[in-house]
Symmetry: D2
Subunit: 432 residues, 4 copies
């Protein structure tokens, strides 16, 4: 669509020079994603038949690229009107945005590289559609409604939030009593956390490191800082590429788990002198600092797989360095006064984005995450009344439903409990 909203910003189609060609390329990208998103595919048949979102308007502020587009189209297929914009001016693909905008029930305002004013005007344009449901990646939409359009709040049934950071901010807002409608913490579901963090981060980090450096992992010593879900994923996949893995941790239980898994566990101070490749996954700052840089070997590669670029202290590294230069595309070499070169990937930002062809998380991973989004939106419509204002965990039943859909899509049958088995599990006087 291409209408002009009250807020005045036109949809992307009206602003592009050649919207048709862009839309065509966008459709191509979306088609690729859809082909590998079996959960959204299965849900689509149900949504089309049941029209669970009929009469609703969904306002979205997310990364507008192919995988998100598949979710957006699913919501429209379920009967909703959808208005969407980006949650980061740099992550939008204009062709995907144009393809979405060409859908009769979707309006897209997202455009890559717009300035701050246009970015926020786009959010306002989405709000101009008077959404009854919000879907956020970073809670910008929720914040704007609460701050600037409080009159709309009563008509909003609820919202969904995709990211750790957004959920974190929402909980704080909730604690302050400021959150005025129910929001599902999609980020926190087991299915998202286990697959996204372990497999998604693990594989994407290693592929990107390999492609950015032209190096291999076999026989390398890979130091993984942090043994949470992301760290487990990186360690496991690096071992699977025949690296020798060293884990650092601050939590003794996690450290012991890593030890029992067969990894070498030690402090970063010790690991610094051993590692060929370092991957930080802690979510904390200053994990690798001056005291570690000075012990590292010439040629060491430093990558961050945590959300923010604070894990490797680049300020300290720059201070130490006699010379800083781009050694390759995506690789900054810091040369110490004694000639050793430490190679930082992607400027210490999420290494999954380091490669020039980086595309964010794998398609199947987002299929699981967006499958949860879709059923959470449906839940808001069907049972939103049951949830008060505030942040809510996605019900286990929905997590389970998405798992079932995925299994069915993969053609995997599983067993079911008989009545006798169900009774047995619920009792305590059997046995011995």
């Amino acid at each position: 669509m291409s209408e002009t909203t009250d807020a005045g910003l036109e949809s992307i189609t009206a602003r592009l020079d050649d919207p048709e060609t862009a839309a065509e390329e966008g459709h191509r990208k979306i088609a690729w994603a859809r082909q590998h998103m079996p959960i959204l595919h299965e849900l689509r048949a149900e949504f089309e038949a049941d029209q669970p979102l009929a009469g609703q308007t969904v306002g979205m502020a997310m990364h507008v690229e192919a995988k998100t587009a598949a979710l957006t189209e699913l919501l429209a297929a379920g009967g909703a009107e959808v208005a969407i914009t980006g949650c980061n001016p740099l992550s939008t693909h204009d062709d995907v945005s144009a393809a979405l905008d060409s859908h009769e029930r979707i309006t897209s305002y997202a455009e890559r590289g717009v300035d701050d004013d246009t970015y926020y005007a786009a959010i306002e344009a989405v709000i101009g559609h008077e959404p009854t449901i919000t879907v956020d990646d970073g809670m910008d939409m929720i914040a704007a409604i609460h701050q600037d359009y409080p009159e709309l709040i009563d008509s909003v049934l609820g919202g969904c939030e995709e990211t750790t950071t957004g959920v974190h901010r929402l909980r704080a807002m909730d604690d302050d009593g400021e959150l005025r409608y129910p929001v599902f913490a999609v980020n926190d579901t087991p299915m998202k956390r286990l697959f996204d963090n372990v497999h998604g981060t693990g594989e994407a980090a290693l592929s990107n490191i390999a492609m950015t450096t032209n190096l291999s992992f076999a026989g390398k010593t890979v130091v993984v800082a942090g043994y949470g879900d992301c760290g487990r994923g990186v360690a496991k996949k690096a071992k699977g590429q025949n690296a020798h893995v060293v884990v650092t941790e601050v939590d003794p239980n996690r450290a012991l788990e890593a030890h029992m898994e067969g990894y070498e566990v030690t402090t970063m101070a010790e690991a610094a002198a051993k590692g060929d490749v370092f991957v930080t996954t802690t979510g904390n700052r200053d994990v690798i600092t001056e005291e570690h840089f000075t012990r590292m070997n010439d040629g060491a590669v430093l990558a961050n797989a945590g959300h923010f670029d604070v894990e490797v202290n680049l300020d300290q590294l720059a201070d130490l360095a006699a010379d800083v230069r781009e050694a390759r595309e995506g690789v900054t070499a810091y040369e110490l006064p004694d000639g050793r070169r430490l190679n930082v990937l992607a400027e210490g930002r999420l290494v999954n984005l380091a490669s020039p062809v980086a595309m964010g998380h794998p398609v199947e991973i987002m299929d699981q995450s967006f499958g949860i989004q879709a059923v959470a939106v449906r839940e808001i419509v069907e049972n939103g009344d049951a949830y008060g204002a505030g942040v809510h965990d996605v019900p286990d039943a929905l997590d389970r439903e998405v798992a079932e859909v995925k299994l069915e899509a993969e053609g995997i049958d599983i067993d079911t409990l008989s009545d006798e088995q169900r009774e047995y599990m619920g009792s305590w006087d059997h046995g011995t």
Copy 2:
């Protein structure tokens, strides 16, 4: 010690023909265990120095074998008087029992193969010592005190329970308002659950299957029923021996986790026709039944790694069979009318006990479990007042303490958070 208690049963030393020789052999067995229990070793120095249990009497009903003996001696080293008996008449090692009884602060009543009357007389004998703390594996001691010696309850500070079954029964008792002192659910601590179930069960099940059958795992199809902690352990270790692993589950999320790990996931009905070796780990009954037996290949091996012998329905198998015989020590062959032979290990009981040389869980695993027991007993003395009557989780701090002791014993240093890092982790307005 060899005293006679009020209940009349003499300690084991008074009942054995040659207690000195037995004690010597028992000390040898305990020495082996102690050598591989670094946590108990570290705690011993602390307990000897601080005497945290001085003035206390610990009444124990546990498997009286070498690993338990190391715990018992630790409690005595911490200042306690200890009276112990078995929690199963068949699991007692008389030599270990005699070795314990030779300790000046320990009295042991456990004797292998005693009849029911003597078994319960032994529990009463322990109670005759008027314990201030109880340590159970199956809650027999707690039950006896509550039912028959209620006058002692006021002087009991608290108790510990080792097993799933005991904790399950205690929670039911607690729900009924009948549990009158605080009891720690040692079984449920992360450190016990993760290591005992994943690594302990996984390795022990496979070793015992290999030694009982003289078969190898390379190239075999191993069907693992259940993908909880035990199932994960068996699947992981079987894959580590180059088996092709098939997982069956009733829970879609777990099924999906197994699938994403790379295992084949299907129903038992399908898996039945593929498997060379079946290992049940569900904790449920009737996991493998008539409909599965009839599809299995000649020579299939069936093993249970769950607690009770109800997972493989042997009654149905016996009904199906034209012939039943012992094919090897520890292996019962059920020959179907068409000549196919299904080989059940250990009569469907826990396969870790199948081999003629089976010795229960590995020493290091019990070191972790008993490390938790020891600090939980100390916690009862030091902070028992803080816990009301009922079942309590072991505090995280104790779980963490034991992990730290283990890391130290292994010579593993880990990092610690700086103040800045601690502050960063606690805030939500950094980043983006």
Copy 3:
């Protein structure tokens, strides 16, 4: 059978007190083995139909236990008369020997624990059957024929030798021009070497260490000395049990292969201070010596998976030790003057035999090895003329045939080359 031969020794049946009961138990043991020997099973149908060995007499000197019995019965099923005795007085199972002797075409002279005179009389008794084919494990039969019955040599078509040591001795004999008929080096076939050494040794060594010590591998540092086929197997399987693996080598290429696989590679002097468990697989002497013992940690476990008991220098260890005692069945503890205890399994002999229930190599492994034996015996009959006196490699076609039989028995189909593909592979001017 129970006849008396020229040499005067009666078959085992005539010498046992209760041969029928023994034979029954022997049949039970053989039945178990046969059930898990699909290659021999498949070959049996062919041998029974084709009678390739009709008119031949096979003289065997091998370990007379269940797996060998399955081979012996196969040769008889192929039409041969078979006379068999042991190749080691301690490895014979009398019940299996009696079961074989009860076969109308097999005579067994093997009896456990006989003295040297009877042992050699049994070999002579086998030779008394005037074998046309010999099957040895250690070349005792071949040696006796060449030395004491040269008049029989002209009627011998050929022989097979099972072990490294036998093949080694035969090659020396051949070099001296003394070997007067063709002998197949069954030991050296790829199929035996790859499966027996990598998977068989790897799994059997670990299972036996686990069962003998009651220890687990998770989180342990396992030092593997030697990275040949056996060492690769032990390292790979130990990694599969979540051990941290350290490899020592003298060959730089193998050392580099281990390094690229992700193992830590260092000298034994360095590894000595790190290891929890040491497994030697070098085939050489003095791999672990005084300089290493003195660096080891208290409680270290030393196991040998090489053929002879010379890899760990126990004389030096005994000299160092202040005390030597049996710590457990199968475990000798050497206590150093400073109190550290080093635990040697199976007295430094092959650890696969350490456990009280040790049964040698897994059944399926011997199925592959004995499958080669069977087709090699058939080859001697069918094409023996084509081979001159001397040691010969088993033709690749036979190795391939056995692989095909195994795949078929496992129900595994593979692809075949088309004519075009075959032509393409044979040419060099395609491509670029």
Copy 4:
């Protein structure tokens, strides 16, 4: 250098618009490679000190990119004059070529994208330097000398050949009696084959598939066609990323090896219906054909990791397809009439080159390969007389030397045999 040769073609520097800037960028690329090539680094010190190539002229025809440049510089450091050109007009990096040409002892004629005349003029220009040693990747230099400059042959000491194809062609030439000087088959050394094929191909294929498709491997069924060194590498690394791996083979022994490793083994006809991702590694044609395409699932990904683009029969696929289009950069989607889409990567050519950022084999892998090249060139100078005209294996001692250099560079110490051990290994009468 920038001289004009007899053949008339100027070196690249004379032909580029801005050679200085190009050389600077080329030096940056070479610096990155050198930093991760420890073998060449170690050899350089030796070559600089010993000048083993003093007085020699090396003529090279290889891919002129950063890794090759590091080898070229090493040869110059060893005292040689070097003239180099490309072995493929599309693989040259002009900046690297310019950087080489700026070296006073190196002349480079390689330029990207030149026409055939200029390509061959460059080879002639190299020959114009009258090389005493040739280093080829595809034997173009050797062929040109033999055909067009036979008068130079007497002054050539020998040559090296890098690739399978070149070695294959040289052996045919040798068989025809046409090869007139000794050439080392560097391609065939164990160290190149084991690391390049297993680890190099395995890791590079998977990284490129991941980056080109934005898909993950966890839970995927990956079908690997061929279980030679490359297939083993791909299978092993795919398993290490939590894929379920299916192997197809035509050789029963290799099929059995794959089975014993725990992989599913079957025919391509069966595998076709199961696979999510297919990777061919056979070196043969028509591995995936019409009969397989018709069974595949919608969305299947087809990649080739073999040398030539003949493994997937794209002609048949194009005939079957109702539509063919680029689905993503590097991905061609063939849509079958029923709507299923089969996605072919890199047009069926080596997938390691599929990604827009593909850079060929990892740096460390080429370090090993080029380490062999360097010592083979040295061997030609020092002992070339000992080799007659023809193709020769690189002596084991050189393979071993490079392994030793790599271990030293990595700081890895290994053990050495004592005299007693050496004697023991050489004898046959020890033991038993």
